[in-house]
């Protein structure tokens, strides 16, 4: 083992990051922490022992037993976390393999439908177009789900790629609003955009931020009953750009709010309103924004609506 490798192994936080784990889920960090606790507790046991026990043999034995007990507890805790981390890693790897394997037949399906719909193989009848459209839409939905699963596996493996460049967020928002106009119109939803003048460009990953705003806009529009309004706000706040999206949709029940950013979570009232959706959008959005150095949050009231927001640093 080279000296560089030894130092890399000693860099506990680096090791945890490599496996995509927070320190409190990382076996190396927990073992290190337990080591410190054992040393400190042993020293305390020694000082207490020398003060209250007269025979030095008993002091030594007490300290030894105490240290041994703590060591056994540390090993048990760390081993269970190791198993947890390993299961997590295997799960991410499984998702990654499955997603890649699903992508190929989906590409075949998508391209075959496109070829048929293009008319290159002969004219297709009007009512056939409708059914090809259904096939196309559904293969598109499956592709989106697979793509989301791939992003999740990258987030968990800490390999989500970021390509930062100078970006005007206003352009991204406008682009997405026009993309959503048809869907919004069909759902009787009006989208309004308020923006502070002369906002600067920021150094961020436009495709990832695009994905975040798309998720938020999709949720805001999708979960409005009958008709409603979505208000988007973009402004400067302290050293950040602040994005906010407010809807008057179904809202999130109080008891579900703590789970909103969890993977695969879908609120009960949302399931009644809309059965489609993977419950991955907000999990992905939070991971992306945090990786870009920002923060994300929301407030919501059932039957009144939700307001989601995120910030991105003006300078990074």
């Amino acid at each position: 083992m080279s000296l560089k490798n030894i130092f890399a192994q000693l860099n506990i936080i680096g090791q945890c990051r490599k496996h995509g784990l927070s320190p409190w889920q990382c076996p190396q960090f927990l073992f290190f922490l337990m080591g410190i606790i054992i040393v400190c507790s042993t020293l305390v046991a020694y000082f207490v022992g020398t003060r209250y026990i007269e025979e030095p043999e008993w002091v030594a034995l007490t300290v030894l037993l105490f240290a041994l007990l703590l060591f056994i507890i540390a090993v048990i805790i760390t081993r269970s976390f190791e198993k947890l981390a390993e299961t997590n890693r295997m799960k991410s790897e499984f998702i990654n393999i499955i997603s890649h394997q699903l992508r190929s037949p989906l590409s075949n399906l998508k391209w075959t439908i496109e070829l048929l719909m293009s008319g290159r193989l002969g004219k297709i009848e009007k009512d056939q177009v409708e059914y090809f459209g259904i096939l196309k839409e559904n293969s598109g939905r499956m592709e989106e789900l697979v793509s989301d699963l791939l992003i999740v596996s990258r987030i968990e493996a800490a390999t989500l790629p970021l390509k930062k460049e100078e970006t005007l967020l206003e352009d991204l928002v406008n682009e997405l609003i026009s993309e959503f106009q048809l869907f919004a119109k069909a759902s009787n939803v009006k989208i309004e955009f308020e923006i502070q003048k002369d906002l600067p460009k920021i150094l961020t990953d436009p495709s990832q931020v695009h994905l975040v705003i798309e998720n938020l806009l999709d949720n805001a529009t999708r979960y409005i009953k009958n008709s409603g309004k979505v208000n988007i706000l973009l402004k400067k706040r302290d050293k950040n750009l602040y994005f906010e999206i407010k809807d008057n949709g179904v809202g999130i029940p109080k008891k579900d709010q703590k789970y909103v950013f969890q993977k695969f979570f879908r609120s009960e009232n949302v399931l009644r309103q809309q059965t489609q959706g993977s419950g991955l959008g907000l999990y992905i959005s939070r991971a992306i924004i945090e990786k870009l150095g920002g923060k994300v949050g929301f407030k919501s009231q059932e039957n009144e609506g939700s307001t989601f927001w995120f910030t991105l640093p003006l300078k990074s």
């Binding site: 890649h100 190929s104 590409s107 998508k110 391209w111 075959t112 496109e114 193989l121 390999t159």
Partner: protein
């Protein structure tokens, strides 16, 4: 007539994209694995030198990256433009392929059939 060698183990994709390319007037030579692909690209091995190679990465017998490496190391095939057409979208795969000399890297899931055909047309015009 320009010749395109399409190295792809998915016969359904060979058929759909192949159909469009044939309709556009190209001659499409098909290879279902990396070994056959390498042979068909190399005149010394009995192949016909194509004007363009479409290359998948996950291939039987010889992996696409090794095919690309082999093509670029061979004097007879090193100048043939190679478009990588795959569903592997990891940055390390893209970087490796570009570093080895791929002209373009396309992730199948992210492109429409007509967009891929357009990229091929443009590459052949360059």
């Amino acid at each position: 007539m320009k010749k395109i060698l399409f190295i792809e183990d998915e016969s359904a994709l060979q058929k759909t994209l192949g159909e469009i390319l044939k309709q556009e007037g190209y001659q499409v030579i098909q290879a279902l694995d990396g070994e056959v692909g390498l042979r068909l690209a190399n005149p010394s091995a009995g192949g016909e030198k194509p004007d363009l190679i479409l290359l998948d990465l996950v291939l039987p017998k010889v992996h696409g990256i090794d095919v690309l490496k082999n093509l670029k190391e061979n004097e007879e095939t090193k100048d043939i433009p190679v478009i990588v057409l795959t569903n592997l979208a990891e940055i390390k795969d893209v970087e490796k392929a570009i570093e080895l000399g791929a002209t373009t890297y396309l992730v199948k899931a992210e492109y429409k059939l007509e967009e891929v055909a357009e990229k091929i047309r443009k590459t052949l015009q360059e």
